[in-house]
């Protein structure tokens, strides 16, 4: 037997009850809860007991309890998607999930003295990057939803998780990603250019690198996960308009553990661009980062 949709969503919580105050009208109450009219509210099955007692909505008295019916989820759009130049975002209200995907179009090259890339190595590199980014970024953000839309009302109080995915594509990528094969244990500068939608990585970027801060604290960071931070909007040239946090001029230069500094911890601000874009997707709906771990 198919479960009711509301239970699927984990929304089988108690219905709200509004206690009528002096001067209030049913129409006003209906509007407050996103119901088309006071008459519909009065006629709702949830208010059958009240209707039996008062017969007519005009007979309602202060103190009467009006049950606010659950939104009809079958009529609410729960899935939204938008494709942007640097990523696509999908919101699934049913799963309470925000899915961020970047399509990466790779260009593989080699430092001198290093063997040519083999097809299997290319695939392996992509898998490692995808895994590193997934491990460091996915499931960390908890978003709360608010607003006056049916979507927001239906999912009020629910927590959305965010997943980040990299898709290997041959053409039409959001980003052109040049990966240089370098000797094991070697070093090459990695970088992201928000404007040209280009990323430069190397084969050592999928391994954690340990760095020490000025106070002797040790921090591990996987460079690919740091660079992804820029590509997902932590750029001073666009997106959230804030990027690397280790420069002297950064407000966060002493937050060494931060992903955009020399560590691996995500901060609420690292989702600024994502949240800003999410908040343009569904009319009258606002997402905020409730917590991050």
């Amino acid at each position: 037997m198919t479960k009711p949709l509301r239970e699927d969503l984990g929304l089988a919580d108690k219905l709200k009850v509004h206690i009528l105050k002096k001067g209030e009208t049913l129409d006003k109450i209906a509007k407050k809860y996103g119901i088309k009219s006071g008459r519909l509210l009065f006629d709702a099955k949830a208010n059958a007991k009240l209707k039996k007692e008062r017969k007519d909505p005009k007979n309602l008295l202060p103190g009467d309890k009006i049950v606010i019916p659950a939104p009809d989820l079958k009529s609410i759009k729960l899935q939204f998607k938008k494709d942007m130049p640097r990523m696509s975002i999908a919101v699934d209200g049913k799963k309470q999930l925000v899915f961020v995907q970047q399509k990466w179009e790779y260009i593989f090259n080699e430092a001198s003295g290093v063997s040519k890339w083999q097809p299997k190595e290319k695939k392996n590199f992509h898998n490692k990057v995808d895994k590193a980014i997934w491990a460091k970024w996915s499931g960390r953000y908890q978003l709360a939803v608010g607003g006056t839309s049916d979507f927001a009302k239906a999912l009020k109080g629910k927590i959305f998780k965010v997943s980040f995915d990299i898709k290997y594509v041959k053409s039409g990528g959001h980003w052109k990603v040049t990966v240089t094969k370098i000797p094991k244990g070697g070093f090459k500068t990695s970088k992201v250019n928000w404007g040209t939608q280009t990323i430069q990585l190397d084969t050592e970027d999928v391994k954690p690198l340990e760095r020490e801060d000025k106070d002797g604290g040790k921090h591990k960071q996987t460079p690919a996960a740091h660079e992804f931070g820029h590509a997902v909007g932590n750029s001073k040239f666009g997106g959230a308009m804030h990027g690397d946090e280790y420069p002297e001029a950064s407000t966060y230069k002493e937050e060494y553990s931060s992903m955009l500094n020399i560590g691996s911890q995500l901060k609420k601000r690292h989702a600024d661009h994502l949240v800003s874009e999410l908040n343009k997707m569904i009319p009258n709906t606002t997402f905020v980062v409730k917590s991050v771990n």
Binding site: V114, G186, F187, T189, K236, D244
Partner: protein, 132 residues
């Protein structure tokens, strides 16, 4: 060499060089150091800072630092020139000079002090719009 000098002198300097990222030192001691070296502009490697200034003018930004394993991404290629032991036992002093070649392009050259002045160690040409 004449071609290099001419092409570099034709570049317009601006005052907006990237401020955060410095330079390097050392003698190349690994194969990876050489393989990282993508010096397509022929031979910068014989030039001292003074000679470089003749070509490019005064750097827009200069910095000096002691190289360690805790280097930022921008300077990370300098680690190819030193072993971990060398960095721990005798951390090298590096001088970093950055020129704004155009509103879009910067050049950073890292030098190591020698008895004959500051000698070229490594360089990076980078777009103003990149983040590391």
């Amino acid at each position: 060499m004449r071609g290099l000098v001419t092409s570099i002198l034709c570049l317009t300097l601006s005052s907006a060089a990237y401020a955060e990222q410095p330079a390097s030192v050392g003698s190349k001691n690994t194969e990876s150091a050489q393989s990282m070296e993508k010096n397509t502009e022929t031979d910068l490697s014989n030039l001292t800072l003074a000679q470089m200034e003749l070509l490019l003018g005064k750097p827009a930004k200069m910095a000096e630092f002691t190289l360690s394993m805790n280097v930022t991404e921008f300077r990370i290629e300098l680690l190819n020139f030193y072993s971990k032991e060398m960095l721990l036992e005798n951390p090298p002093l590096i001088v970093e000079a950055t020129w704004a070649l155009s509103p879009e392009k910067n050049k950073t050259i890292w030098f190591r002090p020698t008895g004959d002045g500051l000698k070229y160690l490594h360089h990076a040409d980078w777009d103003v719009g990149v983040e590391f």
